[in-house]
Symmetry: C2
């Protein structure tokens, strides 16, 4: 059960609910800084314990994510017409996975890269903070 | 028609395609910096000319977005199972709309706030750069 924030009528989700919702999806959005602005791109991902893992090539996404102390990863299911939905935000450190045994194990957890190509690098986001909210429509809405 | 990037097999979308796709959705994700990390939240939005407009209350989203030179706004439709989809990224300056006539006009373009509550503030993102890509699956995938 969550706590309803009076100001925004959003239900704050528990850590357990956030984890269940993260496990329920396969596409999320990675946000990182590029020079003076954030960028956001969709990625296919899987949960590996509490960590988010995804594959990428050696382009912008990987370089940007790995050079920053913290990136954000967001998953949601939002219906604009009905005004309902939820979102979970993971903020954490992104690191390249290079250990051979780890890489073998990760290939078994079923992450399919979003774009066709080499996608040779695995990246893991170690979550520092996980927060989630569900929109709660009031009576008469 | 777009250009296919060899490295990632992503089709780079034209400005016209980006605009058509932006106009086709009503939920996007706003990314902004909070202290040392990016945050991402879903928002309901509409296009107002080339600008993205959405409503928010005076909480974190608004404060963070308005104090930064550039924020990001992303819209996508990505199918993780099929590995297909597209995403459009708008990077620009976010500004509060306070002119009374402008506010009256914006109430007619049909933006419904994502969360129930006051949502008294309108925010407009003036796009500085709009980029988009569509995933192109190769033969045999």
């Amino acid at each position: 059960m969550g706590v309803v924030e009076g100001r925004t009528w959003l239900e704050v989700l528990s850590p357990g609910e956030c984890r269940t919702l993260l496990a329920s999806r396969s596409v999320g959005r990675l946000a990182y800084m590029v020079q003076d602005h954030p960028e956001v791109l969709p990625v296919n991902y899987a949960l590996d314990g509490h960590a988010i893992v995804f594959r990428t090539d050696s382009g912008t996404k990987l370089r940007a994510a790995l050079t920053q102390p913290k990136v954000a990863f967001e998953v949601d299911d939002a219906d604009g017409e009905k005004g309902v939905g939820w979102s979970v935000l993971v903020v954490g450190h992104a690191e390249r996975v290079s250990d051979a045994e780890e890489l073998r194990r990760l290939t078994t957890i079923g992450v399919r890269p979003m774009a066709y190509g080499e996608k040779g690098q695995w990246v893991r986001i170690q979550p520092g903070a996980v927060t989630g909210r569900r929109i709660v429509l009031g009576a008469g809405d």
